[in-house]
């Protein structure tokens, strides 16, 4: 579980996040949504510890991240998996080496053991016969799967995904969404996803946090978002005619 309390962040006296408090629960996929510039990316970078908040706390379980010393911070990072928008696979390494990389850095396992774990992770994301390929030889969807495999190979407690469907076709996007949700349940991970994709919201949004101009405007589930009267959420989520019709038919 991740708990944020009163997170504030400004850049050059321009407030970007204004008192964000929320809970990301274990075994659930939580989605942060909002327009471009709403503070989603900054929020995720603060959760990841890549940017320091001006005030407020982020707790991972019973550990407040800002109270941890460097060793504690490093230990916490090892419990985190991350899927980046552009996959962020190391292009100088093969797919197998990419997945083995965190194991190689943080364990003393033999090459054979590492290879076995990498293969299990690849199998979990339904990829085979790609071990010796380099990232540029794979499609966008396959690269995303490899990124997920690398993120889960160390069996993290927390999984962060930044726009996991960006640049993917709708069918592959659904496959990636479902894969993330299945893994979240299977390993009981606390998963936080930054997204613009309304299909993801409807498909896997067990908890949705809507940010607007740095303020948490609304939170609820994908079932509740159909019924919400919050005008900001309605304007954002049901901006297309298709979604307007879906909402109308729901009522």
């Amino acid at each position: 579980m991740i708990i944020t309390k009163d997170i504030y962040k400004s850049f050059d006296n321009t407030p970007v996040l204004k008192g964000i408090s929320t809970i990301f629960e274990e075994g659930k996929t939580s989605l942060i949504i909002g327009q471009s510039g709403s503070g989603k990316t900054i929020m995720m970078k603060i959760l990841l510890g890549l940017i320091k908040q001006d005030s407020g706390t982020v707790s991972f379980g019973d550990k407040i991240s800002s109270d941890l010393d460097r060793k504690g911070q490093m230990q916490l990072r090892k419990e985190i998996g991350m899927v980046f928008q552009g996959s962020a696979l190391f292009d100088s390494m093969t797919i197998e080496e990419n997945i083995m990389f965190p194991i190689r850095m943080f364990s003393d396992e033999s090459n054979e053991q590492m290879r076995h774990r990498a293969n299990l992770a690849l199998k979990r994301v339904n990829l085979t016969d790609v071990n010796s390929k380099v990232p540029s030889e794979l499609s966008g969807g396959m690269q995303k799967r490899v990124a997920i495999a690398r993120a889960i190979v160390m069996e993290p407690k927390y999984l962060f995904c930044d726009e996991p469907n960006s640049g993917l076709d709708p069918k592959t996007a659904v496959v990636i969404d479902n894969l993330i949700q299945e893994i979240t349940k299977e390993y009981s991970i606390t998963t936080v996803i930054n997204t613009h994709d309304m299909n993801s919201v409807m498909e896997i949004g067990e908890k949705i946090i809507f940010l607007k101009q740095g303020i948490k405007q609304w939170e609820g589930s994908n079932q509740e978002i159909f019924k919400t009267e919050n005008q900001s959420v309605v304007d954002f989520v049901y901006s297309s005619n298709l979604f307007k019709k879906i909402r109308a038919s729901f009522f």
């Binding site: 990072r77 552009g86 962020a88 190391f90 190689r104 943080f106």
Partner: protein, 246 residues
């Protein structure tokens, strides 16, 4: 003010670079790869350029020595001194600033814009230590060897010019290169090469690591890094010469 900020950030970067590697086994693997990429792959170009430069220096010295009172063995002596004092440590460093510096800046810059550096940081890895320290050690270890190679190739190039052009005799050239051999000058060249090597590894790494924007930003950082590395080498060359030989 911007320059001061950059200098400050450069030294802050160095502080993060010089920490204990996360895992020595991985560090050794990366180091060997960097020695190959930054050092071994430069052997050909260094040998090629030095060979021809040595030849050119010998021919030009020969053509400019019109006075019959000046003996021809001074051609070998002048070629050797030029190669050891300036050409091998400085000229080769400027060439490597272009070849290796742009490679370092663009490879790290690309990792920055494709979030690969963020991925390392999220994993809990000190990205500067992981990416830059092996490069520094690789060049510090290998560049003095490249400079020795440049000296040898240059002097050999001068001898080849003697044989091929017939402007001066091979025997006189060999006598000239054996004349007044001073180990201090070799030491001076190696000290300079080691300091320049450090600049070649760290200045482009700084530019690459702080890239902003997309591929255009990487290109810009690569160019800036080469220009600044060359400027720093030329300035340091002057001060080092004054300090060591002055």
């Amino acid at each position: 003010m911007k320059y001061l900020t950059n200098i400050g950030l450069y030294f802050m970067m160095l502080k993060k670079v010089f920490t204990k590697p996360e895992k020595w086994k991985v560090f050794k693997t990366v180091l060997i790869k960097e020695i190959e990429d930054l050092g071994v792959k430069s052997i050909g170009i260094v040998a090629f350029i030095s060979l021809f430069m040595g030849g050119v220096v010998a021919i030009q010295t020969s053509l400019n020595l019109n006075n019959p009172l000046i003996t021809s063995y001074l051609i070998g002596f002048a070629t050797k001194r030029s190669m050891i004092l300036e050409f091998a440590p400085t000229f080769i460093s400027v060439i490597l600033a272009g070849k290796v510096g742009s490679y370092i800046a663009s490879s790290i810059g690309t990792m920055r814009i494709t979030e690969q550096i963020d991925a390392l940081e999220v994993m809990g890895i000190n990205s500067l230590n992981y990416l830059v320290l092996p490069k520094i050690i690789a060049v510090l270890f290998f560049y003095p060897l490249l400079v020795m190679l440049a000296m040898t190739s240059g002097v050999f190039g001068g001898w080849l010019a003697a044989v091929l052009t017939g402007l001066f005799s091979s025997e006189q050239y060999i006598t000239g290169i054996q004349l007044d051999f001073d180990i201090t000058l070799i030491r001076y060249a190696i000290i300079k090469a080691t300091i320049f090597a450090f600049i070649i590894a760290t200045v482009p790494a700084y530019h690459g690591y702080h890239v902003k924007g997309g591929s255009l930003g990487v290109g810009r950082a690569s160019t800036q890094s080469v220009v600044w590395t060359m400027v720093i080498i030329i300035l340091l060359n002057y001060f080092l010469t004054q300090i060591i030989l002055g």
